[in-house]
Symmetry: C2
Subunit: 120 residues, 2 copies
């Protein structure tokens, strides 16, 4: 049985945001994101997968489809598939967030290619 | 943008464990489970979906494929697709857990039926 203590996995890098896999699941990403003050994730989109961000520590500014909110610890937000999203730590504290993406983006990509092959 | 404060959603029922949807995602279940002392989830299996349990409050006894562990707050465990699993709050505190299941079990079920139809 794979029991993980999330805080033991936390690490920060002054160079850039860290994405730390908690579990290696074939069905989803289940990751910790860590951002030091000023660090960010640039605008990004998963075409087929939903992403849910749950904030554990710090304050995190999230922009989804042009709308911006600042998450507090204990708050979560859903990024629907297809929505452009970005995040930034406006500081002063470090940020730790639990980020789930499903279905696993690589699986969605394989499924898309298979569907295109079937249609083509 | 759907920002949710998870603790505002928490409720307990002396009759049985509660399963509280945080988001209505087509891609996954993203739920709070709440268990008062003595409450449990009976052995259960998702054939196609992974489940990840992250404990927020209390102590939770989890059994996966015959192996048992007690989670503390901040710990998480993965239940691979196909593994029989159950949980119990041995008390004395209330339990709040964040439970993610992906892909969405109903989608997996539809996919399975489609695959069976294609093979049949």
């Amino acid at each position: 049985m794979e029991v993980k203590t999330l805080k033991d996995l936390v690490r920060f890098d002054p160079e850039k945001k860290q994405k730390i896999a908690v579990f290696d699941s074939p069905q989803m990403y289940y990751d910790l994101y860590t951002l030091m003050p000023g660090q960010l994730q640039k605008p990004f989109v998963f075409k087929k997968a939903d992403k849910i961000i749950y904030l554990l520590e710090g304050k995190l500014q999230v922009t989804i489809a042009g709308e911006t909110a600042t998450l507090e610890p204990g708050q979560a937000v859903r990024v629907p598939a297809g929505a452009v999203n970005s995040m930034k730590n406006e500081g002063p504290e470090n940020v730790v967030a639990l980020v789930v993406v499903a279905p696993h983006p690589e699986c969605a990509e394989r499924k898309k290619r298979r569907e295109q092959a079937e249609m083509g």
